[in-house]
């Protein structure tokens, strides 16, 4: 089973939920796909034993073989190439704009002169190993990191997901938002947990994420973090759409303090181990229709 943890808004507690969910279950592989800020390792003390480059295949044009036909530039959906034919006996040029190239390979495949080769350019890296937390089973841990100065995170996320082990329970920590990186991270998930907070911003961006998941046809439920007495708007939004609220994490100083020290929620409050397990077990029984998990004393 692949469970991704996402949110429209950043900073709602995705990593808090993803890491504690991972620590509460057995036989887990954790994929940190938030490659612009891969910080799940702060909660999960990890020993990284392997590393590889994440690359983008970019076109290299052999200008001696080019006849300046312009086909590569025509087929480039991102305007990453400009063909400058020679004038007045000078030499022609093909300019490549790296920040626009998505590495799709259309230009190299469609060049009538076979003058273009795909060359790997490093844009990030993938690290893997084991994460250990006293009192929890060890996790297989994989994280992606986008290089400074690079703008295209989906290929790094793909590189992380190539390590995905179908035989394990896979927990994916997704980046925030609703655009390409999120889609890349959560694509193929059996279930998505959306983490939100009871603020107008949390609700606004939750609505965007709900729309995205509807389009991707991934079943999902909501966790309300920093839950307090102002939950009504989020609760109403979910009730109107039959979106299950899996559980609520109360707005408490001790949780914030533990977070600030990198202590996972399940370590601070072991009762969350049971809550996360109950969510997981209900997913296993009825995928797509996670029952709400309620415990005493929830706000």
């Amino acid at each position: 089973m692949i469970i991704s943890v996402a949110s429209g808004k950043g900073g709602t507690g995705k990593t808090t939920v993803a890491t504690s969910l991972a620590l509460a279950l057995d036989d887990v592989q954790f994929l940190d796909c938030d490659v612009e800020e891969p910080n799940a390792g702060v909660f999960l003390a990890s020993w990284l034993t392997g590393r590889e480059d994440a690359v983008l295949l970019m076109p290299q044009v052999d200008e001696t073989a080019c006849n300046w036909c312009g086909r590569c530039q025509e087929v480039c959906a991102f305007n990453a190439l400009a063909v400058i034919p020679p004038v007045d006996g000078g030499s022609g040029k093909v300019l490549r704009f790296d920040s626009l190239c998505h590495g799709c390979g259309a230009c190299s495949r469609l060049c009538p002169r076979n003058a273009i080769t795909d060359v790997p350019e490093k844009i990030g890296r993938v690290d893997w190993g084991i994460a250990h937390q006293d009192g929890s089973p060890d996790l297989d841990f994989v994280q992606g990191t986008l290089d400074i100065g690079q703008s295209l995170s989906p290929p790094v996320i793909q590189a992380v997901k190539r390590h995905l082990n179908q035989h394990k329970t896979v927990i994916i920590d997704a980046p925030p938002g609703t655009s390409c990186p999120v889609i890349e991270a959560i694509d193929g998930s059996d279930y998505c947990i959306l983490v939100t907070e009871p603020t107008p911003f949390g609700l606004h961006d939750l609505a965007l994420a709900v729309e995205l998941l509807g389009k991707m046809e991934i079943p999902f439920g909501v966790v309300i973090n920093r839950s307090n007495d102002r939950n009504q708007a989020v609760e109403r939004f979910c009730a109107e759409r039959n979106i299950p609220i899996l559980f609520r994490i109360p707005y408490k100083r001790e949780i914030a303090e533990a977070y600030s020290r990198g202590i996972p929620l399940v370590e601070l409050s072991p009762e969350y181990r049971g809550k996360f397990r109950a969510v997981f077990e209900s997913l296993c029984r009825t995928p797509g229709e996670a029952a709400q998990v309620r415990t005493e004393g929830e706000s």
């Binding site: 305007n79 990453a80 400009a82 034919p85 004038v87 300019l95 704009f97 626009l100």
Partner: protein, 96 residues
């Protein structure tokens, strides 16, 4: 004159001798990204000898520079004033 290059509303092609020419809508202006590169490339293919605009981005400037096409700024002027200005050497060269 529009302040923008790739996303300008219209393109005018002028004969510098007569200051006469034609204008057309810039059909690239609503494109997603790399619009300046695409427009610069089209201008290269159409064989223009100089470009007058407001400002030009670094990518489009690279393309025009590679093709040896100078770029001038005449933001806020009319097309006619800009053409006159270029003919009399009054415009500032920008870009690379």
């Amino acid at each position: 004159m529009d302040g923008r290059f790739g996303r300008s509303e219209y393109l005018c092609f002028l004969d510098l001798e007569t200051l006469e020419g034609t204008c057309e809508e810039n059909t690239l202006r609503d494109g997603q990204g790399g619009v300046g590169i695409q427009l610069a490339q089209n201008l290269v293919r159409r064989g223009v000898k100089a470009v007058i605009t407001g400002r030009v981005g670094p990518n489009a400037a690279d393309v025009l520079d590679a093709a040896g096409i100078p770029v001038y700024s005449a933001e806020g002027q009319t097309v006619k004033q800009a053409g006159e200005g270029l003919r009399q050497g009054l415009l500032t060269q920008i870009g690379i």
